[in-house]
């Protein structure tokens, strides 16, 4: 299988060193462009007025919350089935980033809900399932770090990540399956987006920026973890020698 070429940590480190600065640079560019267009240049909404600008942070953050978890679940499956150490490291280091995005989505959603709906929080299916996603991330972080044996922690975390992945379709389709206060999807829907193109452009720019930011942060974390494990192994070898 050709993917095995990338499972080599030395090759991964070389590749990551090349990719990471590009992600940071392009991501910062998209973020500045998206914020400028979204906060200053895009029109106010006919219903929501200026409040609609929260969307440019809230929606990409919510997409990332799902996207990062999907990646984490995939990496966990690869780790469980093919026992790639890099997949374990990827899953472990994606969790805090995903938790961060989920937290941003929850907080901005709450700030948006108060002026528009008239409430900070309701227990409808969409909001509740995203809160569960946040707790899944936190649970994963706690579980992976709860074992002295790194591999055991990774195995337990991988199983939790896979079990939690049933929540992803529930979050996505909660607004279609049940009555919710949250409105249905505006962009990822079969009959095309229901957002005017002047608002869609900054939204997509922000989504690209958040994705690049995620890749950059993940690479930084993974590189640090690989180096840390190397140091730990060297120390152990030296201690065994003496």
């Amino acid at each position: 299988m050709s993917l095995h070429r990338f499972a080599n940590p030395a090759r991964f480190l070389r590749l990551a060193a090349i990719v990471q600065p590009w992600c940071v640079g392009l991501g910062a560019l998209c973020l500045l462009g998206g914020l400028y267009l979204g906060l200053l240049r895009s029109p106010a909404d006919y219903q929501q007025g200026e409040t609609v600008r929260i969307m440019y942070v809230h929606v990409p953050a919510a997409w990332m919350a799902l996207f990062v978890y999907a990646n984490m679940a995939l990496a966990s499956a690869v780790a469980l089935i093919w026992r790639h150490p890099l997949a374990d490291i990827a899953a472990k280091n994606a969790a805090p980033i995903g938790a961060g995005f989920t937290f941003v989505a929850l907080v901005t959603g709450s700030l948006w809900g108060q002026p528009m709906w008239g409430t900070w929080w309701v227990w409808d299916a969409r909001l509740t399932s995203v809160l569960i996603l946040f707790f899944l991330y936190l649970g994963h972080i706690a579980l992976v770090n709860a074992f002295d044996d790194v591999e055991r922690g990774a195995r337990a975390g991988a199983i939790l990540a896979l079990v939690g992945s049933v929540n992803l379709p529930i979050i996505k389709f909660s607004v279609d399956w049940w009555n919710t206060l949250h409105q249905p999807a505006s962009v990822l829907r079969l009959d095309g987006p229901t957002i005017h193109s002047a608002m869609l452009t900054p939204l997509f720019l922000m989504a690209i920026a958040f994705t690049l930011l995620f890749v950059a942060l993940l690479l930084i974390n993974m590189r640090a973890e690989i180096v840390e494990r190397k140091i730990r192994n060297l120390r152990r070898a030296r201690a065994a020698e003496s």
Partner: protein
């Protein structure tokens, strides 16, 4: 069968079983997962007077009446075939108006919904005000349709 193959099938089987179990659980709790009932739901299955519940639908056009005390409002919520009268005293959210989706929480007392809280629901359409005005002017406006 190699060990990797066996682990792959194990993971797939586990996920399929988990998915099926979740789907069944969600179907079983269907009624408890809805955030609000529609007027038709309330008329088909009238709740007991002391039960706290949420009712959702569109505010019927020409149904909003502000009472002289300045804070009490009466309006009707419709889902097309059925309507329910609502009585509410308090502050309405900014998005509240006729034709707008709302969710009200309270009790159904002898046919009139006594609301404690009114929440506005907005649809998934976003567009600049000028575009909305132009659509309304040209007669192409449809509530809840994409631009």
């Amino acid at each position: 069968m190699t060990r990797k193959r066996r682990r792959l099938y194990g993971v797939l089987l586990g996920l399929a079983a988990l998915g099926a179990a979740t789907a069944m659980a969600l179907l079983a709790f269907q009624d408890n997962l809805v955030f609000f009932f529609s007027p038709s739901d309330l008329i088909a299955k009238p709740p007991s007077a002391d039960r706290n519940l949420r009712l959702g639908g569109l505010v019927e056009t020409d149904s909003v009446k502000k009472l002289p005390d300045g804070r009490t409002v009466e309006f009707r919520i419709t889902d097309g075939p059925n309507t329910v009268a609502v009585h509410y005293a308090g502050i309405l959210p900014d998005l509240f108006r006729e034709g707008q989706g709302v969710v009200v929480e309270g009790r159904l007392v002898s046919g009139v919904f006594q609301a404690r809280e009114v929440l506005a629901k907005h649809d998934e359409t976003y567009m600049p005000r000028e575009v909305a005005d132009a659509l309304k002017k040209s007669g192409h406006w449809q509530e809840g349709k994409k631009p």
